[in-house]
Amino acid sequence: MKDCGHGEGGSTAAGEPPPPGGRLRRAALAGNPNVGKSSLFNRLTGLHQKVTNYPGVTVERKSGRMETPAGPLEVVDLPGSYSLSPHTVDEAVVRDEIRGLAGSPPPDLLVLVLDASNLSRNLFFALQLLDTGIPAVAALNCVDAAAAEGISVDAGALSRLLGIPVVPTCGRTGEGVEALRAAVAAGGAPGSPPAPAWLPEVEAAAAALAAPLAERFGGVEEARRRLPEILGSEGLFQELAASLPEDLADRARRERNSLAARGVDAATATAEARYRMVDAVVAEVVRAPLASLSWRERLDRVLTHRVSGTLILLGLFTLVFQALFAWSGPLMDGVGALFGLLGDGVAAAVPEGLLREFLVDGLVAGFEGVVVFVPQIAILFVFIEVMDDSGYLARAAFLLDRLMGKAGLPGRAFLPLVSGFACAIPGIMAARTIKDPRDRMATIFTVPFMSCSARLPVYTMVVGALFSEGRVFGFLATGTVIMISMYLLGIAAGLLSAGLLRRTVLRGGRSPLLLELPGYRWPQPRSVLLEVGRRTWQFVSRAGPVIVVLTVVLWVLAAFPREVDLDRDYDALRAEAAAAAGVAPDAPPEAWTEGLRAEMVRIDDMEGAERSARSWAGRIGRTMEPVLAPLGFDWKIGIGIVASFAAREVFVSTLAVVYAAGDAGEEDEALLSRIRSDVDPGTGRPVFRPLVGISLLVFFVLAMQCMSTLAVVRRETGGWKWPLLMLGWMTGLAYVGSLLVYQVGSALGF
């Protein structure tokens, strides 16, 4: 029975259709999720891989080249799938690729990857695939793991029953890969699986419909032969009904509905029949012990236990957190130092002036802004890949599903959210492990609320300037309490937003959870590193251009216009200072006295502050003042907020310029004391009161101030709808939040 003809002109004959001239023969690796498909793919293709996206969806298409004695072959690693009746986007992609609906003809060869320790469910999909008539070979994978559990599979008998070559393999050690390569090169065989036994009721319904649908199938006999499978499958039947004219579709529906009256579940009859075939095969080829307490089960008892499982989960995520914040520090400092050297090198090579400023403050700073995130992202993806490869990620999802469910999120959303504490971008990319589109969207929407590491310098600065003293309950530092509150505020706002989203835009019940808990495996360093490298490069190539361009744009806003009327003649001030110190006005800095040097820095800072106030960024800040005043922000903070849309941490360095504190960091005493002593000329009160500080913190927790995140969301969701909704919602929430804090606080007299 071949059903590859559902598509237009799909008629892969059982023989070997020679590929049209010029096109490489294409082999597709197909199988259930978690069967070691990818490691076999890596083994077969080495590093000759190409990852693209299937058109219109965010499913990745991995393909590679394999050299064989008969010439090169294109190998495609299809996403893991349980059935050709698709339930997820991934599975729809697999069906389209196999049926040749994806714009290219069906593959010339299928490599069925079967997990030897879990053969029965694996064979279900394999039999479906063999029914397409596409020549196939089977890789009986993980034979070593199966043997360790006492399960043995007779590969010879399996090959005989299915009518295709069966090669025992182990993707982890590479065992059997050469034999598999040879079998693939030989082209496989069309297969001759045992004939399915359809229920007589289904056969009767098929017979009744064969004549009216003869045209659709190209003959009454062909229709009678193919219809039982379709009638007994919800997925296949809906596909057929959608392709029929309305009257025929109605006729088919009526005939199918009558099956229920005869006690047959038409939605599941085909799957049940196929499992009867599977059982017949399994009975002949598998020898398994009746009882076994495997080490996997012992491990599971610990890892999913109410107490130990929860503690281990907390411990692991603390470790991830620690790695992201503490261990990535030296690497990030290294990146900073490297770019510092690069900037110095450029400064030495290019004469002082606009070009040098553009290169150093615009371009080099922009590239630094991209590369500085690479250590955190790489570390994060190492954790994700190891947890995913080892099978732990599914356990974490199992433990957390209920908790995340309260916000309408799936258990798998936990990891992207934790990633969000480092940077929203890898978190949003990690949301790809969530297959349901609505669950995935809700997760992507929640991630940017987590306080990322770019917010931390802002928190540190505000807390350092305003809350460095004082205790709560006598022992907790006020600063610590405020920091923790900000993290909690982000989490609460994110989860509430997700919950709201699931009740409005993404309305509908949670998609069913059918989560396989795969056997534990040792992650393979080679696969992990390949994947981490790929993901990191994805970040650099996707977010990179946006970050660089925005940094340059913000540099332009802050550095132009060049010619402005300044309140004071700073060159005259410099000459005066030099004269007062008894140094010639044109003396080189090396000849300056200690006091003069400090005075010169002070004058430079003052000039910088005035220039930035008169720059376009400064004008935007002043224009925004009426909007920001109700939140307690003046135009200086306004400039900082404008600048922080490139990257939040830019806020600190911008304030340093505006407050004429030179090139200050977030804990620089000069900056902090200037911020503290800044007085509003109108009211005579300090600009940075504690209430303003809280209002500012709330704004930074909630606002969507990261253009790179928006750019990545656009790439991941394929349009502007979601990024714009995110920008509007988060920034609106931030405005209202800060407004409430400042107005209520002011009314209460703070």
């Binding site: 599941t268 799957a271 598998v286 398994a288 599971d300 008892r301």
Partner: protein, 95 residues
Amino acid sequence: MTLRATPVGGTARIGRLTGDPALRERLVELGFAPGQSVRVLRRAPLGDPVEVLVRGYRLAVRAAEADLLEVEAAAPAGAAAGAGRGPAFGAPTDV
């Protein structure tokens, strides 16, 4: 009775499936065909989802999905092996 009510450690034989047809088909594809015997391994710390051993592999389903699977409680643990259709894949007794 549905799978939801099956106690941890208990074995049950799947009867009728209810709910949305597409979901019924997927449940059977994953191994929950009528007559198949499955075993409830554990519940998550918050009581949901539940981990089930079916056809020799482990699958977590929420209570909402477990409720779609009507079951007949099979013999207590120990006598259930072989009750499934897959030889030796029904429910390893001592897991």
